[in-house]
């Protein structure tokens, strides 16, 4: 096969997840540490504003780990998926039957035992992450306190400063999968949902889908052969949260109805569809992997 993948008897589709996440509390995405200041990652926009940035590469890493730490049972033994597959970061296994490497990609740089040098191009790609509105990062004084009950000199609390993204920031994020079967996409659905409570470095952690009464959760799921729907991508120049929500809804509506080549789920229906796929991953795919290994 010119693609290097063995064809399977399952239909292939392109998949897109569009979501608007919000920070229910302060968030920290590590960027770099200056002398005793932990900076949050930001991006600068042409309009001069600096935005807190949920880098898509970080989301990708959190998602991949969510998959690696998926609980799986083999012969009464309880394992993490990473131990079952012997696939990790950065030591990816690159095997064709690995549900993680199949969509996230892999690189095996040198021959190890009977594993050849392998390049596995990920078909899952991530985008978005520029926060709305243009709220500046907040800088706070923190300290690490030693737990000693009796303290001697040289064991004073270590003060440091850390920047945080403000609560309420909105993060439009997008995941795209190129030509994958529903079975392959199950892992993506699982990882997307399972990563939400773990986004952010250190503590506090976690983002969630923004939700309102009319639209439900701000989530759109596309499954298509032909790209007929408007991508629900927000221009980073949008500053007003109200405008951003309206733009998200407007684009979400911009898709054909009853079209065989393009199927879109919005709001609650999209969330239910992702949950169904995530459930199938846990109920069917993980036990199948355990019994195959």
């Amino acid at each position: 096969m010119a693609s290097g993948l063995t064809p399977k008897g399952e239909a292939l589709y392109h998949w897109d997840i569009y979501a608007l996440l919000y920070a229910p509390q302060e968030v920290y995405f590590g960027h770099e540490t200056q002398v005793n200041v932990n900076l949050i990652e930001t991006v600068s926009l042409p309009d001069g504003s600096e935005r807190v940035y949920l880098s898509p590469t970080k989301r990708r890493g959190v998602e991949r780990r969510a998959l690696l730490y998926a609980p799986v049972e083999r012969n009464g033994q309880h394992l993490y998926l990473t131990d079952l597959l012997n696939c990790g970061i950065p030591n990816t296994c690159g095997r064709e039957n690995c549900p993680v490497c199949r969509v996230y990609g892999a690189l095996v740089t040198e021959r190890r035992g009977n594993t050849e040098r392998t390049t596995f191009i990920g078909r899952l790609t991530h985008g978005g992450g520029v926060s709305i509105p243009a709220w500046q990062p907040l800088e706070k004084q923190r300290a690490m306190h030693p737990s000693d009950l009796r303290r001697e000199s040289g064991e004073e609390p270590q003060p440091f400063r850390r920047q945080y993204g403000a609560p309420g920031l909105l993060f439009p994020v997008y995941n795209h999968v190129l030509a994958a079967s529903e079975r392959e996409f199950r892992a993506v659905a699982y990882a997307f949902l399972a990563s939400l409570p773990r986004l952010g470095a250190g503590n506090p952690k976690g983002l969630d889908l923004y939700e309102d009464e009319t639209f439900g959760p701000y989530l759109v799921l596309d499954r298509y052969k032909a790209p007929l729907g408007r991508r629900v991508v927000l221009p980073p120049t949008l500053k007003d949260p109200g405008e951003a929500l309206a733009e998200f809804r407007r684009r979400a509506e911009d898709a054909p109805e009853g079209e065989a080549l393009f199927q879109r789920h919005r709001g609650r229906a999209a969330l239910e569809a992702l949950r169904r796929l995530a459930k199938a991953f846990v109920e069917e795919d993980l036990p199948a992997l355990a019994s195959a290994s």
């Binding site: 693609s3 690159g94 392998t118 596995f120 191009i121």
Partner: protein, 263 residues
């Protein structure tokens, strides 16, 4: 013998590949070589006639489309600002595989299935001054009708003929700052570079008219080493548009006319 001056204006960077060379090093002549100019002028004749260039992939024998032997193109040389720009690129080694679109690769790539670094040179020039010689003045006058036409020039790039001078009788004289290449073995001064130059070896058949779509009776090339002088040094030649064209090139290119038919 008569000479006519051509003013050639490139619209892009140009590459005139120096052969023999390495497949990884695409080097360019810093001027339009005589053989290239010959083929380019042939294209201008076609453009004037409204003919499209022939599909050279047809058939197995390489075909040549050049000016008849009665024309002696001496090449064209940059006037004004010019320089050679050298770039580094990654390119495929072979085209018989699909390694670069594979989603999954395992083990060693097939033969030629990796990228290789190569260099590519571009000649960036504002304008070229070229010269064509011919015994008969009226042969050169035909070139005046080509003004305003353009064609692909060299391996990469495009140029058009901006102006053509009046045919002049060539007067051989001594000059001390040659503008064109001279025979490597005869030159003692400083040089800008050494280049192999080629002339066509013609077969027995008659030359087609330059405006005809028929191939020329070329059966191959004959080469010799030339150097592009830098600065001063005595040479035999003639003046055209204030530049001194060395006679070495004429002698080399003219030698072909002694063999085959002299039409």
């Amino acid at each position: 013998m008569h000479a006519i001056a051509l003013r050639i204006r490139p619209t892009s960077a140009l590459t005139f590949r120096v052969l023999p060379g390495s497949i990884l090093d695409i080097a360019t002549y810093p001027f339009v070589p005589p053989t290239t100019l010959s083929g380019w002028l042939r294209r201008l004749f076609w453009a004037q006639e409204g003919l499209l260039p022939p599909d050279q992939r047809e058939g197995n024998t390489p075909r040549f489309y050049v000016l008849p032997r009665r024309y002696l193109p001496l090449g064209a040389y940059p006037v004004g600002e010019w320089r050679v720009h050298r770039t580094h690129r990654h390119g495929p080694r072979a085209f018989t595989h699909s390694e670069f679109s594979r989603l999954r690769r395992e083990g060693k790539p097939p033969k030629g299935g990796d990228l290789q670094l190569h260099t590519w040179e571009y000649l960036l020039a504002e304008e070229f001054l070229g010269a064509v010689l011919a015994e008969k003045e009226e042969d050169l006058r035909r070139l005046q009708g080509l003004v305003g036409y353009g064609a692909k020039l060299g391996k990469e790039g495009f140029a058009y003929l901006e102006a053509v001078g009046e045919p002049l009788e060539v007067r051989l004289e001594e000059g001390d700052a040659p503008f064109t290449p001279v025979r490597a073995e005869a030159w003692g001064g400083a040089i800008q570079g050494a280049y192999p130059l080629y002339r066509f070896r013609f077969g027995e058949a008659e030359d087609p008219d330059p405006a005809s779509p028929d191939p020329s009776p070329v059966i191959g090339y004959e080469g010799a080493y030339f150097v592009l002088p830098r600065g001063r040094g005595l040479a035999k030649g003639f003046s055209l548009e204030g530049r001194f064209f060395a006679w070495d090139l004429v002698e080399f290119l003219w030698a072909r006319a002694s063999g085959g038919s002299s039409s």
